[in-house]
Symmetry: C2
Subunit: 332 residues, 2 copies
């Protein structure tokens, strides 16, 4: 069995170049007892993959999650024909066991029953991004009805779910993103109350109009100046969930920002960074809740799917540039 | 009765100038039913007073706490000869009732029994600064035995108590301050494990030596670059209590700092701003705990006392420049 995989060649700085990666072939050995062979069907491209690149050893397989079909098996718990979700990295074929974990500590598991929804959702609203939105918003921001919630990268895989869950909880929701097409989707289809285009509008002024009494909860995917602007307009005892720092991932030197410390102090804010792996033990709770909301018509999703294993780099860099709406992934 | 008080003339920027204040006299009326007249004995000078100056209306009495003796009374609960602690502002004499609160919402109360300790401690270790240390450290940082705790402005009224309570809780304690005289006091008398002089040493390097495995808790009094340096060296799930932002109080424009957001994210830190008034309902718990530790010889204090009501401005600005060791106050 000859598999293909993307290897990270060097830890280069700045925006990823195609020469940072190498597509290599490897011959996989015969399966041993308890192993199974999984063939990638959908591969995920997510901002965190960029964030972790500087900490990966050169010449290791690039990290990433996938939905894969079991095509050979010596493990009765993982029979041929079933699908798994796993952080196998950017590989076409993977030999795994029940204990296989991703580089970031995620478990591999059989795809739950999805009510005939697309398998690719296991990488989005019914997977890591959906759970990131579910646990990050509900556990760290603790939104109450009538609260005003701001989410940045609002049209992304996580942000679009955050805003909809906040709406389900009775909040006023303000989304920040970088194109009016995204804004139209957020306000006209997903029910967001306000949209701010950070590329064409003054975020500080627009936020003052949208939230004249201040912001209760901020779900932060981007960091940088936008986050300072939002943090400076929070109400006393506001909650900030730091989920991403996208604005810094491709920077070649550390960004300088106006210090948010005075606002954190004077408004007694709670600012908390998190990784969704903290809720590994409650993983299926998040999946089932989001699935229920989809079935009930309360939670909508959108996917930007690129075709072809060899187009992973293209899909990855387009996602980093904000080219996707909703979840970005690759169909093999 | 002719009283003296300091009025804030203008909201000037930068380091306070004597012309920002005016010493004025006012004739107080006769006491009405339920009122009492309190004569200042000790006046407190604290960093928060500078922080609030920009939000005070011009020509209002400057804020501040005092220990005052009741010299006249038409309220049986506040009899002549007793002492009160109140946020009366920088006044020599104040007419108050049982309901009088400070500008910042603090209650006024009769001085608790102090075991013959100096009355001035009601403005320090047995008052607001002591409670700030007690609740801020224990509730927000939640230090566990063996944790490494960093405190900035470590030789100040709050910082010196924070470090000692952390020692009582079995932690390794690192204090950051601006003179070797302060460092000597911290390590030789108060039991701090390490001292970093931010004026003469490289904080980043010294912190790496003192806490090679990283920092669990950071009690932040200063903000700015020092805070970023500490936050960038925290362990996963570290806790940061933001108590002050002294480095910014006298700035004429907002400081730019390296963004700490990536560290907050990657290490899943919790950063929380607070005001001690959040624990108003538990006020006496903090006072009694700190008093008990003083009696048991576990908690030491030091005061920098300036003589004379007319020297308040001098005491205030010297404190802002770090001229004090321990609690700064004025004896009338």
């Amino acid at each position: 069995m000859v598999a293909k995989k993307y290897v990270l060649v060097i830890r280069s700085e700045g925006f990823p170049k195609s020469s940072d990666f190498k597509l290599v072939e490897e011959t996989l050995p015969e399966l041993k007892e308890n192993e199974y062979l999984a063939e990638a069907v959908f591969l995920s491209v997510d901002p965190y993959m960029r964030a972790y690149m500087p900490s990966l050893e050169p010449n290791t397989t690039m990290i990433g999650s996938q939905v894969a079909k079991i095509v050979e098996s010596k493990n009765p718990d993982f029979p041929v024909g079933k699908y798994v979700v796993g952080g196998f990295g950017l590989r076409s074929h993977t030999i795994a066991t029940a204990e296989t974990k991703s580089e970031l500590g995620f478990n591999t598991f059989l795809l739950p029953h999805f009510n005939n929804l697309p398998l690719s959702l296991a990488l989005g609203v019914l997977g890591m991004p959906g759970n990131t939105a579910y646990f990050g918003l509900l556990e760290l921001c603790q939104p109450k009805p009538e609260d005003t919630v701001v989410v940045s990268a609002a049209a992304g895989a996580v942000g679009s779910i955050v805003g909809q869950i906040a709406k389900i909880k009775g909040c006023t929701v303000i989304g920040i993103a970088g194109s009016n097409e995204k804004g139209k989707w957020l306000t006209e289809e997903l029910g967001f109350d306000y949209f701010i285009n950070y590329k064409t509008q003054n975020v500080e002024e627009e936020l003052r109009k949208a939230a004249p009494k201040g912001v209760d909860c901020y779900f932060d995917n981007v960091g940088g100046d936008i986050s300072v602007t939002v943090i400076n307009q929070m109400k006393p005892f506001g909650r900030v969930a730091i989920c991403g720092d996208i604005s810094s991932y491709n920077a070649t030197e550390p960004a300088k920002i106006i210090s948010p410390i005075r606002s954190i102090l004077f408004n007694e804010l709670k600012v908390q960074g998190f990784r969704v792996s903290s809720w590994n033990e409650r993983w299926l709770e998040g999946i089932h809740k989001n699935l229920r909301w989809i079935i009930d018509g309360k939670l909508k999703y959108r996917e930007t799917i690129t075709e072809g294993f060899d187009n992973i780099f293209k899909a990855f860099t387009e996602m980093l540039q904000g080219g996707n709406i909703g979840k970005a992934s690759v169909k093999v």
